[in-house]
C-alpha cells in the first residue's frame, strides 16, 4: 500500500446540485488504485451522478476530484484517463463491433489498432463478431463490447454504471464472475455503481453504501454486512431485525440492553455509536439467519441472547431455508431464517417459540434513526 496512493481516485467535498436539489452532498471518498470499488444505493441516491462527475459528464457544483497528483475536477471528459461502461451500453449503432472497440484508440491517434482490438475481443470472447453491427448482438454480447471498448484504452479508472442491469439473472451472475476475473487480470481500478446489494458484495473489495447524496458506510462487504453502523445499511444490505431496547449498564466488554424484561448482551465494539449507548435508547439488531428457534421454554446455553414467548405467525419454505415470522409479546414481528439442514426442528403457525442467538452476532444502532430506512419495497424485489 506504500506507493499505491500515488494513483488513488480521491473525491473531496464533492457536491452536485440540480437547481435546489442536492444530488450529491459534500462527498469525501478515496478509491485505492487497483481496487474493485462498488457504490451501492437505491435509485436516486446520487451514485450515478457521482460516477458521471468522475467521468466529466456532469460538472461539479463544489469540491474537487483528483487522480493521483492530477486535479481532474474540471477537465473535459476526453482529457481524463477514465473510461465508462454505460448502463445502456451506448454502442455506436452505425459502426461495426471492431470500429466500436477501436474508437478510443483511433481518437488518441494510434495507428496500428488491429492487433489490440482483436486481443481485446478475444478477452471478452467475441473474436468472431468484429464485422457485425451492435444491433445484431444479444444484450450480454453488447455488454461485453461496451466493456471491451472502454478497457482497450487501459484507463487508470474504469467506471461501470449498472452495467449488468439489463441482463437476465443467469447472465448477470455469469458476467459478475467474468468482470471480477477481468479486473483481476488487468489490474485497473474499477468503480462500479449498482443498486443490487448482492452484485456489489459478490464483486467489490470495498463497498460504499450511498443514501440521499451521502455515504452511509464504507468497508469490505463482510464488514458492512456483519457490522452495519446505520439502520439504512442494516436494512439495505440483506435484512435485519431491529428491536428497540434500553441500555442499563455494562458487564466488562459487554453492553446490557433490556427489552420487556429480557436482557440482551452486545459486545461494546459492535455498538455503532457511543453517544447512543450513553443516551440509553438503542436499536438492537440481529440478522434473521443468525437466530435459532427453539420450542418455548427450552433451556439455552449460558451467554446466549434469548427472547422468549414468541408465536410463529408465518412459515415460508423456500428450499435452502425456511423463513419464519415470529410475533413477540410486545407486538413486533421478527424474521428468522433456518437452514434446511435436516437437523433443525420444524415449527408451524401458532407454535410458541424462543429465539436465541450469540451476543457476538448482535449489533447496536442509534435509536434516533428510522428503523425502516433502506427496507426494500416489494416492487423493487
Amino acid at each position: 500500500m506504500a506507493d499505491s496512493d500515488a494513483e488513488d481516485l480521491v473525491l473531496t467535498g464533492v457536491t452536485k446540485k440540480f437547481g435546489t436539489f442536492k444530488a450529491v452532498d459534500d462527498l469525501d471518498l478515496t478509491v485505492p488504485q487497483g481496487s474493485f470499488f462498488a457504490l451501492l444505493g437505491p435509485s436516486g441516491c446520487g451514485k450515478t451522478t457521482t460516477l458521471r462527475m468522475v467521468a466529466g459528464l456532469e460538472e461539479l457544483t463544489a469540491g474537487a476530484i483528483t487522480l493521483g497528483p492530477q486535479d481532474i475536477s474540471y477537465l473535459k471528459p476526453y482529457k481524463r484517463p477514465v473510461n465508462t461502461v454505460f448502463q445502456s451500453y451506448a454502442l455506436f449503432p452505425h459502426m461495426t463491433i471492431f470500429e466500436n472497440v477501436a474508437f478510443g484508440l483511433r481518437r488518441q491517434g494510434k495507428k496500428d489498432v488491429k492487433k489490440q482490438v482483436e486481443d481485446m475481443l478475444e478477452l471478452v470472447e467475441l473474436a468472431q463478431y468484429g464485422a457485425r453491427k451492435p444491433t445484431q448482438l444479444s444484450g450480454g454480447q453488447q455488454q461485453r463490447v461496451a466493456l471491451a471498448r472502454a478497457l482497450i484504452n487501459r484507463p487508470q479508472v474504469l467506471l461501470l454504471d449498472e452495467p449488468l442491469g439489463a441482463l437476465d439473472l443467469k447472465l448477470r451472475r455469469a458476467m459478475q464472475i467474468e468482470l471480477k476475473r477481468i479486473q483481476t487480470e488487468v489490474g485497473i481500478t474499477f468503480v462500479h455503481v449498482t443498486h443490487d446489494q448482492e452484485e456489489a458484495m459478490t464483486m467489490a473489495d470495498t463497498v460504499a453504501v450511498m443514501n440521499a447524496g451521502l455515504i452511509e458506510q464504507m468497508g469490505e462487504p463482510k464488514e458492512l454486512y456483519e457490522h452495519p453502523r446505520t439502520t439504512f445499511v442494516a436494512n439495505f444490505l440483506g435484512q435485519s431485525n431491529l428491536i428497540k431496547a434500553k441500555v442499563n449498564g455494562t458487564d466488562g466488554d459487554q453492553i446490557r440492553a433490556e427489552i420487556e424484561g429480557s436482557t440482551l448482551r452486545v459486545p461494546r465494539d459492535r455498538a455503532a455509536d457511543d453517544a447512543a449507548v450513553r443516551s440509553g435508547s438503542v436499536w438492537v439488531g440481529i440478522r434473521p439467519e443468525k437466530v435459532f428457534l427453539a420450542a418455548g421454554g427450552t433451556e439455552t446455553s449460558d451467554g446466549s441472547n434469548v427472547l422468549r414467548r414468541g408465536r410463529v405467525t408465518d412459515v415460508s419454505f423456500i428450499g435452502v431455508s425456511t423463513q419464519y415470522l415470529v410475533r413477540m409479546p410486545w407486538g413486533q414481528e421478527l424474521m428468522v431464517f433456518e437452514q434446511n439442514t435436516g437437523a433443525r426442528e420444524d415449527f408451524r403457525v401458532g407454535d410458541e417459540v424462543d429465539l436465541h442467538w450469540l451476543p457476538d452476532h448482535t449489533f447496536l444502532l442509534d435509536a434516533d434513526q428510522d428503523a425502516t430506512a433502506g427496507v426494500e419495497r416489494e416492487d423493487l424485489g
Binding site: 459528464l57 473535459k76 476526453y78 454502442l91 449503432p93 471498448r149 472502454a150
Partner: protein, 270 residues
Amino acid sequence: MNGRLGKWVGDHIVLLVGLLVLLYMFMPIFIVVLMSFNDPASKNSYSFDGFTWHNWLNPCEPIGMCDAVTLSIRIGFLATIGATALGTLMAFALVRHRFKGRSVANIFTFLPMASPEIVMGSSLLALFVSAGFAGTLGFWTILIAHIMFCLSFVVVTVKARLAGLDPRLEQAAMDLYANEWQTFWRVTFPLVFPGILAAALLSFSLSFDDFIITNLNSGQEVTFPMYVWGAAQRGIPPQINVIGSVMFFLALFLVISSEVFQRRRARVTA
C-alpha cells in the same frame, strides 16, 4: 355458389381495395408517362393520338421550357442547401439547448407550414415591394421565398431524427477521447444524416414544384411550374410530360438504389 363467391370476396377484399387505391394513386403518373409518347393531332388535343419518340428526342423544343426547368433546378438546389443548412442548425438548437423562449420558438417554426401559401406569398410580395425591391423581383426573391417555406419542413424532419438520438452516444464518444469536433463528425452527424438527407430531398421537391408563392414573387422570371401553368392556357406541349416522367423515374431510381444499398450492407454484415 353464392356462398363460395362471398367467401372469395371476403378473403380478398382488403387486397382488392388496396389495389384500387394504388391504381388511384398511380393513374396520373401512368398518364404522364403515356402522354410523353403522344403525337398530338392538334395543339389543344388532350387525347392519345399516336405514338412517337419525337418528344423524348427533342425535349427542349417548346420555347422557354428548358430555361424554366434549368431555373427551377438551380433554385431547387440553392434553396435545398440554404434551407437544409439553416434548418439543421435550428433543429440542433431547439433539441439540444435549453434557452428562454424555446417552446415559443418551437411553435413559431411550425407556423409557416400551417399558414396558407397564398397568404405567405402575398405578404412576402408586400414586404419585398415596401422594402424597395419592386423592380428587382426575380431569382433572388424566389430563392429567399423558397428557403423560407422549406425551413419549417427541414426543422421538423431533422428534429424528429435528433430527438431519437440517445445523448449518451455523444457522451460515450467524449468519454472515448473524441473532442467536440470529432464527436460531431464521427457520431452525431452520421446518425442524424438520414434525417438531413430526407429533409434535403423534401426541400428540393417542395421548391421544384412550388407555384403560388413563386408566381407572386418572381417578377419576370419563369419557373417550370409557372411555365406549365402558362402553357396550359394555350395547349400543353407533350414535352412537359417528358420532364415529368424524367423526374418520376429519377425519384424511383433514388428510392430503389438506396433500398438495394441498405439491403446489401445488411447482408454483408450479417
